[in-house]
Structure formats: structure tokens, C-alpha cells
């Protein structure tokens, strides 16, 4: 789902052409396109750095957490999941909709982590660190565009 598919779906349901308001919304989406792509490429190229710096900061704040317990598998899966979330945010930024993030990253994820005995509080903290590190790399304008996606994710993980 993106802004475009949403607009088409609602127009199709009422058997009408796209209204001017919808066209305007899509036009805005197009105009913001270069910005979205810029954000996406920043996140893509700096993924490793974001994840590493973010985890360091996370371990400073929450030293007692499964990923910092010395178990290499836990550490690696923690890093993997963080990279995974950065990727989902890239998808969401590009389509301009939370749908990819919600469908894969948020629905059921809380239960998954609970069953893996990962404390949700720490997870939220890790995502916050991720957000901070990612936003520090961008201009204020780009940061304000991408921040809501991180916030949505954090909100969805709140215990």
C-alpha cells in the first residue's frame, strides 16, 4: 500500500476518476520523492554503521540484556534484527506508508520477542538508540520525515 494505491482503491470503490484533492496528494508525494530517495540511500549506505553505533549506545544504557551477555548468537541476532528494522523503515519511507513496517515488523513482533524472553523495555531502548543514531546523520528536514516511522515502530513495541 502506498499513497497512490490508497487513492486508487478509494476512487475505484466509488467508481470515479481520481479527484483533484487525491491528485494533489499524489503530486505532493511525487515532489517529495527525491527527498525520500535521499533518506533511503542514507539509511541503506550507513546501515552497518547505524546498527553498530546504535548497539554500542544501547549497551551503554542497558548493560544487562541478552545481546550483551557474551553469547555470540544473541548478539548477532540482535544486530540482525536491528538491520532488519532499518530496512523495513527504508521500504516504508519509499512508499510513504507504514504498511510494510506494520505488516512485517510490528504485527506479532511483540509476542515473538516476549516468547523469546527478550525484555521489551530493552528492545524499545535499542530502537530508540537506532533512531537517534540514524537521525544524527541527516538534515533536520530529512530527520523530521523519517522520525515518524521510527516512532511508529517504537510505539508498536511498547510493552
Amino acid at each position: 500500500m502506498s499513497i497512490i494505491t490508497r487513492a486508487i482503491a478509494s476512487a475505484d470503490r466509488e467508481a470515479r476518476y481520481l479527484s483533484n484533492g487525491e491528485l494533489q496528494a499524489i503530486r505532493d508525494f511525487f515532489e517529495a520523492g527525491p527527498q525520500r530517495l535521499r533518506i533511503a540511500s542514507i539509511l541503506t549506505e550507513n546501515e552497518l554503521q547505524i546498527v553498530q553505533t546504535g548497539s554500542q549506545r544501547f549497551w551503554q544504557r542497558c548493560p544487562y540484556t541478552p545481546s550483551n551477555s557474551g553469547n555470540p548468537t544473541f548478539r548477532a541476532s540482535c544486530m540482525r534484527d536491528q538491520g532488519w528494522y532499518v530496512r523495513l523503515i527504508v521500504y516504508s519511507v519509499i512508499v510513504g506508508d507504514i504498511e510494510p513496517l506494520q505488516r512485517i515488523g510490528v504485527n506479532g513482533a511483540k509476542e515473538m520477542y516476549t516468547s523469546l524472553e527478550i525484555p521489551l523495555r530493552n528492545l524499545v531502548e535499542a530502537l530508540r538508540c537506532l533512531k537517534e543514531v540514524a537521525l544524527e546523520m541527516m538534515t533536520v528536514e530529512d530527520a523530521s520525515e523519517v522520525a515518524p516511522y521510527f516512532d511508529y515502530l517504537i510505539q508498536g513495541m511498547m510493552p
Binding site: M1, T5, G21, L37, R80, G108
Partner: protein, 788 residues
């Protein structure tokens, strides 16, 4: 077919068509990777062309009527086809319709133009027609298909005309959508297969109309080659899709009786057609081979194992890359690896292992219990390796994936989905499937063979004793999708029991006839052995112990009659409502108490109160509680009563309850029914709304027959006379802490009670002997537990 089980149905939104961003995202997502440079470039060019696309779409929308009329005029003769075009209802003024401020400004002038149109509709139309025809003859480049002849409107009929015009405007509408989306998949999905739906004899005419519409649309962009190319592309795509004969449906064959044969509508399969299936071939490049291997890992391990676990099966990888083993063998080796055993075998029960293995190696969920049994036999006899061999060597694997294809999830869009494992299968495909340790398919298929459990449709709890009156309980906030445990009358639970010798927690107990004892309900028994005529039950002399008038029973005829009314009606009746004839017969020994209860229950006032004014579930529930002294046992019992009420009505219901073996066993001929037990929640419902009220132990009001004044004004039907006993019973079933909180309160009430007792003169000696004695006993344990 009746539904007997529910696998849950998560909401699914199949992606029916794509825009440029969603296509890119879906492909990247399928391979768990970031966007490639080429994809980013594609997106960038799409975004930069956005303004142009918007302009095209807006122009086409504004001139929609002219374009459609050009198409229609080309193929219809002898009439004004535009008169048959029905406009969609104007929703602008309806509530909830999004009115954008800009829209009003820009559409206003057009609307005024349209309003003028009806004055000369026919002439305008004819003029348009002639002009268009002339122009199209001049610069129409598309060859008109052979065999085209215009359609006579009068012969064609108004119904078909309306449909044709609707379809023509529909085609244009979808072209505008496709232009905005930057992807013609929306056209392909919707137009392919229309040829079979629109009558075959107008196929050529439709194509001609589309060509004319394309030509007309292009006339608005004569100077703009770029826009013309976009329009041309989508119209050509649409025409090509339309000319395709009805596409074949995707069949899924059932291999045996326990598997369904299904077909997938072509629109779904064409929407999913662009999802790449990865194939391992010897002549691929190194990166493509690496992609295929990663896809195999994703399919079998569900996670990116190289990054997470640092595991790399380098040896196997090099073999499959070098063509020494096929992809199928690679998959087989992955399944037999140590990692697979550790991740998907050791943490799970065997049934769940089979379900997960189906997902990994066949890309679907199990479809029947027979299938499960087959594989369960394999894994339990030989082991995991044999299960994986059986799956990989199966005919189905060969049909779908063969030697070279990497297995993939055969989910929505790729294949027709079975309905009987729908919810379970969708759950199985989720990323979070691993957290579910409980086998899902097996329990679902098992549930199909059982009758529907006692479960309220709005609630998760299925305790039959708690599901009362068909009510929706607002406090029910458990997870509704969870499968509740089976509960029936033999399950043990907390019961506030004041009735005949119930075993601990069992609501259904074999020794029903046993007297409740001094802690139980106050039993009113009509002792007919003292009657002058010596009429005894069935002519037999009553047993010893049955006629001994212990202090908890009461035998005076007035008291029995009084108590019977209170039990049946839940209140004292008015004089006019008394059944005088029955009372006299009872007193004279002509009828038994059971017969008396029957006549009271069949009386006009009772019918009014509990039958006519209530809905059927509530009526049955009330009557059952009144006459049999307990709640109903859920669906099994209720359906019996529903049936009875529907066929025979109210009187048969009363007879059925009073003649039931349970009634005879519990109350016999001479005992007035009493409430045997209620559930804690049932008790809570009688208190103030909300939490379980803590009984105020010491405040029994003698003049009000042991009924606490705080219960006044509540629905106390059924509580009368037994509330003190609830206090005592609660003392036994509730944790001490719950009571001890109220210690201060209890002390206060004790003081009050002492004052009252000194003032009060006890009128009824029988009652006082019963209700005053337990009071100190009720308070004692609290103090004993918490010495201060």
C-alpha cells in the same frame, strides 16, 4: 454443511495491482535486501516524472466525457450513445465524503458547462460525432480490425447500451489509474479475461472503441511526445490484454480424497506473476547463484542464518554452485543439517515439527488430518531425516519445484487457498510463526470432528456456568483468538455452594439428594408424615432420617408455601397472585410440594414475569434457576431446552424440568427447591456492578429475613434467604487475604451487631436458632489467621 470449528481468519489484503514503488519494495522484501542502485534510479525517474503523470491524468479526467463519447460514437450509429452513460452518484454532499478545498474551486466552472449541456444534447452529440469521425479518418493510424461494423443502438437495446457505455468509461478510468500508478498491472489484472464476459459479438467493436478513445486522448497532447508515449503505452497494453482470450485459471489438483482441488481466479495469479521464482542453473552468474542460495536459506530457516548465527555451509554451497548437487539435494541437506534440527526439531513437539516442515519444504500448510497422520507415522517411527526425505521426494515437490527451483511459500496470489486450513496457513506463513509452540493444524482438524464447544461468540471463556443469559460480558478482555480450555459440568471450579453435598468444586455430583447440612441453604421440607391422613410418598413409609425434622429444615405448611413462592418468583407474591386452590390442596395433603411448585410455575403471573417478557435464552435460564436451583450447563443443555420450547412451549418446559431425574433426586416430592450453588461471577453480578463484593459478615438484619440492607434495590431474586449462607461459603472458598482486608470493617460491624442484638427481640424462634448461631463462627477464622 455446518461449521464446527474456527481456525481464525486474519484479515488479508492481497495486493491486486502495483505501482512503481510497491513493485520495487515487494521484490526487495522478498529477497530481504536493500534497494539496488538500478531500482533507486527507476524510482527517481518515476518521482521526477510525477508532475507530468499528474498533468496527463488530470487532463484525461477533465476530458473524460469527450473521450468516452468519441469512442462510443465511433461504434454506435442511429442514436445518441452518451445518453446511456450513467454517472456515479454524487457523493460530495454525503457525510464522510472527503471534499478537498481545491477540488471545489477547480471543478466549479466545469459544472456550469455541464449544466448547459442538456439543452442541446442531441445536436452537440451529432456535431461531435461528425467532427470526430472526420478527424479520425484523417489521422487514425491504428488499422481498424477486419469485420468491424457499427452497432445500431435501437437494435442493440437500452440495457446493453447502458452496460456498454459503463464499460467504455470504466476503461478510461482504469487508464487514468494506471498512468498515476506508473505501472500497467492494474490494467492487466482487470482487463484480462473481460473478453469472456463482454459478449463475444462486440469484441471487435470494443477494440475499435478503445482505439478511438486512445486517438481522442492523444489529441490533447499533440505537442507533447512524452505524454503521448505514456498514454499510448497504457492504451496499447489495455487493448492487447483485452484481445487475449480468457486466461486459463490456475488449477491446484487434489491428489487424494482428503485434498481439495481448487482453482485460482486469473486476476490473482496475474497480479502475483511478477514475483520472481529463483532457479539454480549451471549457467547463471555468481551473484544470481548467491541469490538463489540465500533464497533457499530463507525458505528453510526462515531467517538470514549467515548473519545471525555465523553459520555458513560453505562446502554444500560450493557443491551446489558447481553443479555437483541440484537445488533439491541442497534443500534436502539443509533439512538434515544440525542447525535445522536445533532450530525446528528440538524446541517443538512432533506435531508442530511436521507443520513447520511442510512450510519449509512444500511451501504450504497441512490440508487434512489424513495427511498429518501419514507423516506423523514416518517421523515417529524413523525420525526427522525420514520426514524430510518423504517431503522432498514427494510427487508434489517434484511437480512444483522440480530439481532446480528454490521452494517458495505458496500463499495468497500464488495458489488457490484451501478454506479449511485458511487461518492456520496464513499464521504459518508469518515471520512470527516460530513462537507458536502448540500445533495449530492438528488441533483445528481435530476440532472439525467435534461438536461446537461451549463458547460464547463474543467471549473467549467457555465455562458453561459463566456463560449465562446469552449475555455479552463487558469485562471479557482476554485474547479472543485464543482457544479456551474445554469446560463442562464435571470440571472443578470455585463454586459458592450452599446446596446438597457437592463434592469440592464439582458442579455435578452423584449424591444429589444429600441434605446440605447446617452450613448449606435453608431447606424447607414439607413433612407429610405428620399429616392426619398419613399420605406418604408412593404409599411407602418415609425412611428414617428423611422425616426427622432437623433444625435446618422447616415443616410448617405456611412456611413451606411462603418459601415456595419466594423460590419460584424470587419475591413474596401479592395476595392476588397466590394460587389459593393449590395451597389448600397442599395443606390437605392432596398434592405434593413438587405438584404445588408445578402449579405455581404454570400460573399466569409466573408466565408473565419469566416467560412472556423475556427473550428465550434468558427465560429458560431464569426458569431453570428458579425450579432446579442451578444455572444451566451450557450449550448441550440449552439446546435441549430450545428444542423443547420451540416445539411444545412454556408448559412443557416447566414439566420437563420438574419431571427430570435430577429434580426428583435432589428435591424429591416434598422439598421446596433451593439455590444449590452459584459461580463467583454469578454472585458478583448480584452485587454492585464491578468487582466481587466482600460480604459484610455481621450485619444480618433479622427483621429482613437475613437479608442485608445493602442488597436492597438490587437484583436479588434468588438470593433471598440464602445470603447468610453465601457469607459462610465465601469464607471457605475465598482466600483469607481477601477477607482480611476487611478486618477493620468486620470489627466495626461486630460492634454494631452487638448493639443491635442487645436491642432486638427475636420474634421467630426457628429463624433465630438458625441464623444467629453461625455469626461468631463466621468472624472467627479471620482473627485466627491474623492475630494482632
Amino acid at each position: 454443511m455446518s461449521t464446527t470449528a474456527n481456525g481464525g481468519s486474519p484479515v488479508v489484503c492481497p495486493q491486486r495491482y502495483h505501482t512503481v514503488p510497491t513493485t520495487v519494495i515487494t521484490q526487495a522484501e522478498q529477497q530481504d535486501r536493500y534497494l539496488k542502485r538500478s531500482e533507486l534510479d527507476e524510482l527517481a525517474s518515476y518521482f521526477s516524472s510525477g508532475a507530468k503523470l499528474m498533468e496527463i491524468a488530470a487532463t484525461l479526467t477533465q476530458n473524460a466525457e469527450a473521450i468516452v463519447s468519441a469512442g462510443a460514437n465511433r461504434i454506435f450509429v442511429w442514436g445518441a450513445p452518451m445518453a446511456y452513460l450513467e454517472k456515479p452518484p454524487n457523493r460530495k454532499n454525503l457525510p464522510g465524503y472527503n471534499v478537498f478545498p481545491r477540488q471545489r474551486i477547480t471543478t466549479a466552472p466545469q459544472e456550469t458547462l455541464k449544466q448547459q449541456a442538456p439543452f442541446y444534447p442531441v445536436y452537440q452529440d451529432w456535431i461531435n460525432k461528425i467532427v470526430d469521425l472526420g478527424r479520425s479518418l484523417l489521422d487514425d493510424k491504428d488499422p481498424v480490425p477486419e469485420g468491424f461494423s457499427p452497432i445500431n443502438i435501437r437494435r442493440y437495446g437500452p440495457d446493453r447500451m447502458k452496460k456498454s457505455m459503463r464499460d467504455l468509461s470504466w476503461f478510461l478510468r482504469y487508464v487514468t489509474y494506471a498512468i498515476v500508478a506508473g505501472d500497467s498491472s492494474i490494467l492487466t489484472v482487470n482487463v484480462k479475461g473481460l473478453r469472456g464476459i463482454i459478449p463475444e459479438d462486440v469484441t471487435i467493436a470494443t477494440v475499435v472503441a478503445m482505439q478511438t478513445m486512445k486517438w481522442k486522448a492523444l489529441t490533447y497532447f499533440k505537442e507533447d511526445a512524452e505524454a503521448a508515449a505514456v498514454i499510448k503505452q497504457h492504451f496499447d497494453q489495455m487493448i492487447a490484454d483485452y484481445q487475449v482470450a480468457k486466461p486459463t485459471v490456475l488449477l491446484r489438483q487434489g491428489v487424494s480424497n482428503d485434498q481439495q482441488g481448487l482453482q485460482l481466479p486469473p486476476s490473482y495469479s496475474s497480479a502475483a506473476a511478477h514475483r520472481p521464482k529463483l532457479v539454480m542453473k549451471p549457467n547463471l552468474s555468481a551473484t544470481e547463484k548467491q541469490d538463489a542460495i540465500k533464497a533457499a536459506y530463507r525458505q528453510v530457516f526462515e531467517r538470514d542464518i549467515t548473519r545471525a548465527y555465523g553459520v555458513s555451509l560453505a562446502d554444500l554451497e560450493s557443491q551446489v554452485k558447481g553443479g555437483m548437487i541440484s537445488m533439491k539435494e541442497f534443500i534436502r541437506h539443509l533439512g538434515k543439517s544440525r542447525l535445522y534440527r536445533k532450530e525446528f526439531y528440538e524446541p517443538f513437539v512432533i506435531s508442530r515439527v511436521i507443520e513447520l516442515a511442510f512450510r519449509h519444504f512444500l511451501g504450504r500448510g497441512m490440508s487434512s488430518i489424513e495427511e498429518f497422520q501419514e507423516y506423523f507415522a514416518i517421523i515417529s517411527k524413523i525420525g526427522l531425516a525420514a520426514l524430510i526425505d518423504a517431503l522432498v521426494d514427494s510427487q508434489e515437490y517434484a511437480d512444483y519445484f522440480g530439481e532446480e527451483t528454490v521452494p517458495y511459500l505458496r500463499g495468497l496470489g500464488l495458489e488457490a487457498q484451501e478454506c479449511r486450513n485458511w487461518g492456520a496457513q496464513i499464521d504459518l506463513f508469518k515471520y512470527s510463526a516460530l513462537i507458536r509452540k502448540v500445533p495449530q493444524f492438528l488441533t483445528l482438524f481435530g476440532a472439525y470432528q467435534k461438536p461446537l464447544p461451549d463458547q460464547h461468540p463474543y467471549g473467549a471463556g467457555n465455562d458453561p456456568l459463566e456463560i449465562q443469559f446469552g449475555a455479552i460480558f463487558p469485562l471479557e478482555n482476554k485474547a479472543h483468538t485464543a482457544r479456551p480450555a474445554i469446560f463442562d459440568e464435571d470440571s472443578r471450579r470455585i463454586l459458592i455452594h450452599c446446596g446438597a453435598g457437592l463434592e469440592k468444586g464439582a458442579s455435578h455430583s452423584p449424591n444429589l439428594g444429600k441434605a446440605p447440612g447446617s452450613l448449606g441453604a435453608r431447606v424447607l421440607r414439607f413433612n407429610r408424615s405428620t399429616m392426619t391422613n398419613g399420605n406418604t410418598l408412593n404409599g411407602k413409609a418415609p425412611k428414617i432420617g428423611q422425616n426427622t425434622n432437623v433444625n435446618f429444615s422447616s415443616s410448617s405448611a405456611e412456611i413451606v408455601i411462603h418459601g415456595a413462592y419466594r423460590q419460584v418468583f424470587g419475591r413474596d407474591v401479592y395476595d392476588g397472585q397466590r394460587q389459593m386452590v393449590a395451597e389448600i390442596k397442599l395443606k390437605s395433603g392432596e398434592i405434593t410440594v413438587r405438584e404445588f411448585i408445578r402449579q405455581v410455575a404454570k400460573s399466569r403471573p409466573f408466565r408473565n414475569q419469566y416467560w412472556e417478557s423475556l427473550y428465550i435464552t434468558k427465560a429458560i435460564e431464569y426458569i431453570h434457576r428458579r425450579l432446579l436451583g442451578r444455572p444451566t450447563y451450557g450449550r448441550r443443555e440449552m439446546s435441549h431446552y430450545y428444542d423443547l420450547c420451540a416445539r411444545k412451549g412454556f408448559y412443557a418446559l416447566v414439566d420437563d424440568i420438574l419431571d427430570s431425574p435430577e429434580y426428583l433426586e435432589t428435591f424429591g416430592e416434598d422439598t421446596v427447591p433451593y439455590e444449590r450453588y452459584i459461580t463467583p461471577r454469578g454472585y458478583a453480578l448480584r452485587g454492585l456492578r464491578g468487582e466481587l463484593p466482600i460480604p459484610k459478615v455481621a450485619s444480618e438484619d433479622q427483621s429482613n429475613n437475613g437479608f442485608h440492607s445493602s442488597y436492597k434495590g438490587m437484583d436479588y431474586t434468588g438470593v433471598i434467604g440464602v445470603v447468610p449462607h453465601f457469607h459462610r461459603a465465601l469464607k471457605q472458598v475465598m482466600p483469607q487475604s481477601a477477607i482480611s482486608i476487611k478486618l477493620e470493617e468486620v470489627k466495626q460491624f461486630r460492634a454494631e451487631m452487638a448493639q443491635q442484638a442487645s436491642k432486638q427481640t427475636l420474634v421467630d424462634t426457628e429463624e433465630s436458632s438458625e441464623s444467629s448461631s453461625p455469626q461468631p463462627e463466621a468472624v472467627q477464622p479471620v482473627e485466627a489467621a491474623h492475630p494482632q
